[in-house]
């Protein structure tokens, strides 16, 4: 990075607000110029344009665009130290995070094929290993809770869940 680039970055008081503003600006532009005109159907005849299914999404998209610009300006001009302290944290190991993502995927990919109990056990064991939980008997919870909660949902609360592998 050249020294002029560094100077440009230093001029931005809050880089996170600035970046968020840019991303939201792009999103609102896509919404206003592409998604709303192409993915919201409109009846051919309408007495009042304010009755159109596109009217409110259009207004909201343009307002989002305007406020994204304001957020960019806020990022350029205002440094909010208190807020940035809250937003920052010390990152943990990547391994824990990756195992958490795998546990999420286990739920979404196998919930219906393996059933609620087996996916529950599998994902909970994975998350215990991610931390890792070192007390062996705690792993009993990874079996007891999915079984107990599934049966509670299905038999007591009458909320259907896939029980067993299909």
């Amino acid at each position: 990075m050249s020294s002029s680039d560094y100077r440009a970055v230093n001029r931005i008081k809050d880089i996170l607000d600035f970046t968020t503003g840019i991303i939201l600006l792009v999103v609102s532009l896509v919404l206003a110029l592409y998604l709303v005109p192409n993915h919201i159907g409109e009846p051919p005849i309408m007495q009042n344009p304010m009755m159109s299914p596109r009217w409110l999404p259009n207004i909201v998209s343009w307002l989002m665009l305007a406020f994204s610009v304001l957020l960019i300006l806020q990022g350029l001009l205002v440094a909010d130290k208190n807020e940035s302290d809250e937003r920052k944290f010390i990152k943990g190991s990547l391994r824990r995070f990756v195992i958490m993502v795998i546990a999420f995927l286990v739920y979404v990919l196998f919930f219906e094929t393996l059933g609620a109990i087996l996916t529950g056990i599998l994902a909970t064991v994975l998350l215990f290993l991610a931390h890792p939980v070192r007390t062996w008997w705690v792993y009993g919870f990874a079996v007891a809770f999915p079984v107990g909660v599934t049966l509670l949902f299905v038999n007591v609360m009458n909320v259907p869940l896939p029980l067993m592998p299909y």
């Binding site: 409110l56 979404v108 996916t119 998350l127």
Partner: protein, 500 residues
């Protein structure tokens, strides 16, 4: 008399009593565990209420709400970690008291003032909700349109942190609420041909995703922090101390009631206003911030005075006062009920059965709260490494149970990522949720007004009620701008002082 019989029939069911007690226990338990919030607990409990009777279902959620409000103060006092933002004020005096060996006294003070404030708030709810609903019966679509505009402005303007981010969050919420089939023309809006989206985005996966999943992601993303153990030791609160605090408790409760009745203001503001009011009036004002029992009482009275009062706009006008009442509104909808003035005409017995249950919840809070003080160390010592995998399981089961579709699990996880990004970028989730709920109401009342007025825009200024709402809407915007520029001025003055 016939109504009374019906009310008692609805209320005197064992299910209702179990629901209230269970709700308060869950609320206090969750509230007393740092990292878990009452909002998360209410969102997770919502799928469990699908098969319950409406009264028991709502009472379960209200019980969690009230229990959570008190539970948040336990960690604030013992380990200087407020369980909810509203309990932040309690730690100002509660934690120093715990440090001085008076943890039990602080916890008892918090409990008694919470219960008294909750009771006063419930009385206000019973008196004002019916009265307000009676007035609201005169409202038509244009009046409701302006009422929703007012609710949107006040919620956004009081969003913590940046006003711009609050507005952006609310706009995103409104936009997402419009996904699905258009209610008037039936045309598809941003569904991309996906039949799962035709009936709009499901409320429960959005809710769970937004408020529970980000905590889980953050836990696995963050560096592991050591688990802090806490103990509630020392003597309890004496009657003389309770008497001394009584004025502050009553004043704080009334402050909570007034603030809670205004949509969007929230318990945090009430707690701090009540605290500063008590500090100003107390003969022991110099001891505030150093472990003053009156400080704990005032903060807790302010924050719990809000709980019943936030239900006033919800029940009488159908407008959620805060995030938790927005979830409770969702529960009403799940059970085919629409809160508002019409409900007071069509389901009066149900409303009075709810009122009885809400009154009972104050009493149960006293019993459960006492037990929580005793057995707190057991509850708070559950490590998050065990807790969060189980919470995630509840999230997944709850999201799936809505439509029996894996799509909702995807949706929930996607909103979880959105919620996590919101946390990281400082965008508040509350205006997003309120925007999501009020968006369709806004559009619906706008269109109905246009249809009633045959497209003539003068219908929006048709009488004194609309003028009143227009005035308070613009007043609210002006107040928000004033607060914004005042805060900027104060920050710049502080910077100049630091530099000079």
């Amino acid at each position: 008399m016939e109504n009374l019989n019906e009310v008692l029939q609805l209320f005197l069911s064992i299910d209702n009593f179990i629901a209230i007690a269970l709700g308060v226990v869950i609320g206090v338990t969750v509230g007393s565990i740092p990292g878990l919030t009452a909002t998360m607990a209410v969102a997770l409990a919502l799928p469990f209420t699908f098969s319950m009777q409406p009264v028991a279902a709502i009472l379960l959620l209200v019980g969690i709400y009230k229990g959570g409000m008190y539970g948040g103060s336990i960690t604030a006092i013992l380990i200087r970690t407020p369980g909810s933002p509203a309990s932040a004020c309690t730690l100002l005096d509660g934690y120093p008291m715990a440090q001085q060996g008076h943890a039990k006294k602080a916890l008892k003070t918090a409990l008694f003032s919470s219960v008294i404030a909750d009771f006063i708030s419930n009385i206000a709810l019973i008196f004002f909700a019916a009265y307000l609903a009676k007035i609201a019966l005169n409202f038509g679509a244009p009046e409701f349109f302006w009422l929703i505009c007012f609710s949107l402005t006040i919620i956004i303007s009081l969003a913590s942190g940046s006003m711009v981010k609050g507005l952006l969050a609310a706009l995103m919420g409104i936009l997402l609420s419009l996904v699905g089939l258009d209610s008037v023309f039936g045309s598809q809006r941003l569904t991309f041909g996906n039949y799962n989206l035709m009936d709009s985005i499901s409320f429960i996966p959005l809710l769970i995703g937004l408020f529970a999943i980000p905590e889980i992601i953050e836990f696995y993303r963050k560096k592991v922090v050591p688990h802090i153990k806490a103990k509630a030791s020392g003597a309890g609160m004496t009657l003389a101390e309770l008497k001394r605090c009584m004025k502050s408790i009553v004043r704080g409760s009334l402050i909570g009631v007034i603030i809670g009745a205004i949509p969007g203001t929230g318990a945090t503001a009430a707690a701090f206003i009540s605290y500063s009011d008590a500090r100003r009036r107390s003969p022991n004002r110099d001891n505030f911030g150093k472990g003053e029992v009156e400080g704990v009482a005032a903060a807790e009275a302010g924050n719990n005075g809000v709980a019943g009062a936030t239900l006033i706009p919800l029940l009488s006008l159908g407008i959620p006062g805060d995030v938790i009442t927005a979830i409770i509104l969702g529960a009403f909808m799940v059970h085919g009920l629409t809160p508002g003035p019409i409900m007071f005409q069509e389901n009066l017995s149900l409303i009075y059965a709810l009122f009885l249950g809400i009154m009972l919840s104050s009493l149960i809070l006293l019993v459960v709260g006492n037990a929580a003080i005793k057995y707190f160390s057991l509850i708070a010592d559950i490590p998050k490494s065990i807790l969060f995998p189980i919470v995630l399981m509840f999230c997944i089961y709850g999201a799936y149970a809505v439509n029996n579709a894996t799509f909702d699990i995807w949706l929930m996880l996607a909103f979880g990522v959105v919620g996590y990004l919101f946390n990281r970028t400082g965008i508040p989730a509350a205006p997003f949720l309120i925007g999501f709920i009020l968006g369709p109401m806004f559009e619906d009342n706008l269109r109905r007004s246009l249809l009633i007025g045959n497209g003539d825009l003068s219908i929006f200024v048709r009488g004194p009620i609309t003028w009143f709402f227009i005035a308070i809407t613009f007043g609210s915007i002006a107040f928000a701008l004033y607060r914004f520029f005042q805060a900027r001025k104060q920050a710049s003055n502080a910077r100049q002082l630091n530099n000079g």
